[in-house]
């Protein structure tokens, strides 16, 4: 078992709206990533994936607020630290972030290299501009980006190039945990491939020690990450290895999510394309029992009445459902 890079225990965060209502977007999430491993987070829009990404960084600003839980990065608990300390000592070096809309993530009036200088100077004020340039140039060329990009402004780059530049900037300080929030979702297939390859290179060459990859495309995760977890309404509903999650989902929501996606993968492709009826619950007033129950075709009255326990299987797999593993397989068989 490798060294644990990131451990999160029962993390809860909320949004406070302008009308002072609380929206519990991340509600008791626990996860663990070892060195050299990657974890995918999937779920439909609004399930709390992006909020989870923001919450994991331990640096909160309105409207997002921390409620409770631990975030432990390489043995150091950052959830109790002062925000300024987190920002200075953790962000960028320990945990780095790739935003969802990398298109607008770069300051339009600044050259890429000037921004890299600013990023590095936060953590190493003494490093000379020449050294920074050399470092950036080397890193860019390893990642397959031309060095000219450094002297350009964001407007002069294409969408795919911008995304890859953002990835290179985020990882320039070789962070222990990289959190990528839909880094490839806005790109065409070719650019997506380049981004995925880049993420893999980063892992292989050891520039990042672990990665959380957030996306709404479950099958994409199958090609990128070791493990996958599925989120629904602010909670993790299932966690397992990428293979198990794609080919053998246990939780009815994961199964529904797989069924509603067009995939070229063998073995999944034959599945009938089905949509999950209904909409996710309002997180201002989360339902008491299983949050998926109103949309679940296997739901019984008990599902909505009680807190659903997290079932841990011997092989490390976890899922949230009242049905036993055997019952689930039986039900799915008979369909």
């Amino acid at each position: 078992m490798g060294k644990v890079m990131l451990e999160v225990n029962n993390l809860k965060t909320k949004y406070v709206t302008r009308l002072r209502e609380d929206v519990y977007a991340v509600d008791g999430v626990s996860l663990k990533i070892e060195e050299g491993k990657s974890l995918g987070v999937a779920g439909e829009s609004g399930c709390g994936k992006s909020t989870l990404a923001l919450s994991l960084m331990g640096y909160y600003f309105p409207p997002l607020h921390y409620i409770s839980g631990d975030i432990i990065v390489d043995g150091r608990n950052i959830s109790g630290m002062k925000p300024d300390d987190v920002r200075r000592n953790i962000l960028g070096t320990e945990i780095a972030y790739i935003p969802q809309a990398a298109m607008n993530a770069l300051n339009p009036t600044q050259k890429i290299i000037r921004f890299i200088e600013d990023v590095i100077h936060v953590h190493d004020p003494k490093m000379s501009d020449k050294d920074i340039y050399d470092l950036a140039k080397e890193r860019f060329s390893i990642l397959g980006l031309p060095a000219e990009v450094l002297q350009k402004h964001a407007v002069e780059l294409s969408g795919g190039m911008k995304q890859r530049t953002v990835i290179a900037i985020s990882t320039i300080l070789s962070p222990k945990v990289l959190i990528a929030d839909e880094p490839s979702s806005a790109l065409d297939v070719t650019s997506q491939k380049m981004v995925i390859k880049m993420m893999r290179d980063l892992m292989d060459k050891g520039y990042i020690k672990s990665m959380i990859f957030i996306t709404h495309e479950l099958p994409l995760l199958y090609n990128v990450t070791d493990d996958i977890m599925v989120m629904y309404a602010g909670q993790i509903v299932e966690k397992g290895s990428a293979r198990e999650m794609v080919f053998d989902p246990l939780n009815p929501y994961t199964k529904g999510l797989m069924g509603s996606i067009i995939v070229p993968e063998e073995g999944v492709r034959e599945n009938k394309l089905t949509a999950i009826p209904g909409t996710p619950p309002n997180l201002k007033h989360p339902p008491k029992g299983c949050r998926f129950a109103p949309r679940c075709k296997y739901a019984t009255p008990t599902c909505s009445g009680m807190e659903i326990p997290n079932v841990e299987l011997p092989n490390g797999r976890e899922y949230r459902c009242l049905m036993s593993e055997r019952k689930i397989r039986e039900v799915y068989e008979n369909e």
């Binding site: 640096y59 953790i90 960028g92 972030y97 935003p99 936060v122 407007v155």
Partner: protein
């Protein structure tokens, strides 16, 4: 340690010079088309402005030559002699020629800096009058408009970033003030600070008992006389700039790059710098667009304080049907506004890389 302290600013300066050279090179390469087009448009505007400058005052009713001739001929009884005086003046001012011929003569002379003789302050030449008033206007308006614009932008950015009293009290107060016209502000300042409190003199550019010289007394007098007209322009400028900057800053503060920079650990002071620069861009355009209006307002405030600048000169030219002087005044003001606009656009082109990118396509 000390050596490093001294060396750092020097190195900073060196890298600044290098970046300026780099910038100039970029200008030459990427901006040729941008600036070429701009300058062409400014030339066209200039020609139209010159023609209007010449024609408009001459279309005003009234015959100034007869007024001057009348003065010169006062006491004369011989109609023949009066006629002769009148004809002499007509000849001198060339007002009997067709408009187009007058324009040709005027333009030819104007290129050589000769705007003819003033009607109302005869025999002073127009160039002489302009030369003595232009400096005062430039010294008053340029710093006042720039300071007002800067203060407005800073107030707007602070209101957006700090909120609280800046956003709820100070900014609305300046917004209220900025809706007072320049002459109204002039009158208020004049009444309150000039007359009731007696803090500053109310008219002229220096004490009327002084002759311009390099003495300390004279400089002090100039500074004292400068205050009221200067602040009347500054105060009126702040609010309008601040409100624009505030909304731009709020927009920029929520931009993705701000969030991203935060998550990379970059300090807020640095991020505020990014935001300020990006929010400034539309403000620079705004400055270019409102320069003309601002100057117009500021000219009126010169009149309130009898400041010996172009505004006051223009006023007396209008009263005296003094076409040559009026034309020259408006021409000088037009050139000032056009140059200021062109300057603003050049600056904009340099600090917004998107302009360059757009031109290279």
């Amino acid at each position: 340690m000390v050596g490093e302290l001294l060396l750092r600013p020097f190195l900073r300066f060196l890298s600044f010079v290098v970046s300026l050279r780099e910038m100039r090179w970029n200008c030459l390469k990427g901006y040729k088309k941008y600036y070429g087009q701009k300058i062409l448009w400014y030339l066209i505007t200039f020609v139209i402005a010159v023609v209007l400058n010449f024609a408009l005052p001459r279309l005003m009713p009234g015959d100034p030559v007869s007024a001057i001739a009348g003065q010169a001929a006062s006491g004369m009884t011989d109609a023949q002699a009066i006629k002769k005086v009148y004809d002499e003046y007509v000849e001198k001012f060339g007002v009997n020629d067709p408009m187009i011929v007058q324009f040709g003569k005027w333009a030819k002379a104007a290129v050589q800096g000769d705007f003819g003789v003033s009607f109302s302050q005869y025999p002073r030449t127009v160039s002489d009058i302009i030369a003595s008033s232009f400096g005062w206007t430039l010294a008053l308006q340029l710093p006042a408009i720039i300071l007002g614009w800067l203060l407005g932008n800073i107030l707007g950015a602070v209101a957006a970033y700090m909120k609280g009293v800046f956003d709820k009290a100070i900014l609305p107060a300046f917004l209220f003030i900025s809706n007072v016209p320049a002459f109204g502000m002039g009158v208020i300042l004049l009444t309150v600070f000039g007359i009731q409190l007696g803090w500053a003199p109310t008219s002229g550019a220096y004490g009327f008992d002084l002759i311009p010289n390099a003495s300390w007394t004279f400089v002090k007098s100039v500074i004292a006389h400068y205050q009221l007209p200067f602040w009347s322009i500054v105060l009126v400028t702040i609010g309008g700039q601040a409100i624009g900057m505030r909304s731009m800053s709020i927009y920029e503060l929520n931009a993705d790059y701000v969030k991203y920079s935060r998550f990379l650990g970059i300090k807020d002071t640095k991020i505020v710098g990014y935001v300020f620069r990006n929010a400034m861009l539309p403000q620079i355009t705004g400055l270019a667009m409102s320069l003309g209006t601002m100057m117009g307002g500021a000219l009126v405030s010169e009149i309130i304080f009898s400041y010996p600048g172009l505004g006051t000169t223009m006023m007396s030219a209008i009263k005296g049907n003094d076409y040559p002087l009026l034309s020259a005044c408006t021409l000088v003001i037009t050139i000032m506004v056009l140059l200021a606009n062109l300057f603003v656009e050049i600056i904009y082109g340099i600090i917004d890389p998107r302009v360059k990118a757009a031109q290279q396509d």
